[in-house]
Symmetry: C2
């Protein structure tokens, strides 16, 4: 389940938990068989009756992310705003603050304990929201290119800051756009979670890339990029620094990856500049909006874990998936995907979109 | 994306493909970094305009799984029917047939090829539908216990038959119940896919179980079961042969596993009898229906792969997940789950359900 700033699920319970001394009972738990970790987050709803169907939820007109409503959110961590405006008041162009209903709690020590055969950890971490624009009606695909650049800078600044906290091994940056992709607030925003563990898929990617490097002395992503640029079948778009491809084995229709062409293991601005990344990201989102009629989507940034951030084997990238089908449970149970759209065709549709 | 018998997505395209000599262009592709395989299935829809939102789809009154409409489906593979009734005609109580729009094709040789750095296989496999009851209004939780037993027998008989085909390494049995869980037909049914590869999560489980066994000479599932039965905190229900638990690290609220108490590596009827399994499965489904208001759900059977079916390290089980939230993309991108419901609490709610 994706979390979002203000899940409508049981806010009252969450508030009562906070009033009771703000006790954080979140826990990280490891499945002993698969090795995957999950967060059991009791700051959120939990009783059977809380799982109302999405269509029954009611959206009010009030948006806590709109200018003027800063008082309803936790205090900002960073903002981009003119120097003559006050913190936590209007005037900003971008705003980062803690999630009001965090899945993990920033305060406390990381304690690791066993429970018989099981392993668990205290639910320590950071959970933040990046409000990308003051304009409720804009999205990453419609805001100015400069504003997209600023969003990428905000990601980078938060990564750089959270890296200093030795309790954290990874920062997961992810975006849910649209109701069906898990965004409970319309106002365009990204989330990040700083974690004392490395998410399973990131660990698998880094392990696999390292094995490949040990064998070939080459980065597997660089090899993939070179082959894709040569055959061009699955290339969607490229600029001087980045390439967007439909991956060879996509899990879902129109899955798209954006990668730096030149090897780079961690998310960072080449030559102190995010303009090219902002450009390719916005082009891809505009293409998707055009051919898929403004689909809900998720993206996630995969970057090297802090413990080995600069290396020759891993290659940071963005994985982007429009949410075109409503299925999840089966893949959860099998790790097995069926995709009706060959990536060669989705790449062609995307390339030919008139944006 | 889950496939179902008669996805409304582009049936005309699928038909035209079939008319053109029934060419199967499905392909199994491996992601070189994560190692996961996906099926690229072109018997299904693929153009951007095919991804209509679920709410826009229209359900007609016609059901191809109802008695009298047998002529609209492929011919039955097995049926449970009185001996005085004819094949592919009414009178049956359970019916298994090939999926009309299969993700994989049964005919052909398994060819494995490379494409530069990438690996792929021809899309060979079986894709079948088990229609569980002739009554359109019944479900696994409301049909007779005897009918549930018959469904389990059908699973077992198909597994036993498909095992003989040396091209197949695994048979994945899965059920999508309800629109939101991916069932495009209401009429209660299960699907199975016979595969020339082992699904990623199954492989991870068997590898991990084997490592544990190498270390301890014990089955990790048996150890988990013993601990759960001792502490009882996460036990939902048990009968003489099976136990249902909320797993220690559930990916989603009310995730439930059903396991044989006595070690068994592959799905099979102990003493030639499925009555106890039918009973526990129906109890769990009734409990879920009661406390979650007849939720959509998915379940999948995890059993030992054919190449090592009878062993001491792996323990077959059912993983069942009600579909209470609408999120998928983010987990796809991270392998990272946030669950607001501690399993101790979901187990308590389930235990206390008055069914």
């Amino acid at each position: 389940m994706i979390i979002s700033y203000c899940d409508i699920i049981l806010p009252k319970l969450a508030q009562s938990v906070r009033k009771n001394g703000g006790v954080n009972m979140s826990e990280l738990r490891k499945d002993p068989i698969s090795g995957r970790w999950v967060i059991i987050s009791v700051e959120r709803g939990k009783r059977p009756t809380d799982f109302v169907s999405p269509s029954q939820r009611k959206k009010g007109g009030f948006c806590p992310f709109c200018p003027g409503n800063e008082y309803t959110t936790p205090e900002e961590i960073i903002t981009f705003r003119p120097s003559d405006t006050k913190p936590n008041s209007p005037g900003w162009t971008l705003r980062v603050m803690p999630n009001k209903f965090p899945a993990l709690q920033i305060y406390g020590d990381l304690s690791k304990t066993g429970e018989g055969i099981f392993d668990k950890m205290s639910g320590i971490g950071a959970h933040e929201v990046i409000v990308e624009t003051p304009d409720h009606m804009l999205s990453l695909s419609t805001m100015s290119l400069k504003a997209v650049e600023d969003v990428l800078w905000a990601y980078y600044l938060r990564l750089t800051d959270l890296r200093k906290d030795r309790r954290f091994k990874y920062v997961l940056i992810f975006k849910n756009e649209g109701d069906a992709a898990g965004a409970s607030l319309e106002h365009s925003h990204t989330q990040l979670i700083a974690l004392p563990i490395i998410p399973k898929l990131v660990k698998e990617e880094t392990d696999s890339s390292r094995s490949y490097y040990d064998l070939k002395e080459r980065c597997i992503f660089c090899d993939v990029i070179n082959q894709e640029i040569e055959t061009r079948k699955r290339v969607i778009y490229e600029n001087s620094r980045y390439v967007a491809i439909a991956p060879f084995a996509p899990r879902a229709p129109f899955e798209t990856w954006i990668l730096p062409k030149k090897h780079a293991s961690n998310f960072s601005p080449p030559d102190n500049n995010f303009s090219q990344l902002a450009e390719i990201l916005q082009v891809i989102l505009k293409q998707m909006d055009k051919i898929l009629d403004i689909p809900p989507y998720n993206f996630v940034i995969h970057t090297s874990p802090f413990y080995d951030e600069i290396n020759d084997y891993y290659h940071w990238h963005i994985e982007l998936m429009p949410k075109l089908t409503k299925i999840a449970g089966f893949e959860w149970g099998s790790g097995f995907y069926i995709n009706p759209t060959p990536p060669e065709e989705s790449a062609k549709f995307m390339r030919e979109a008139k944006i």
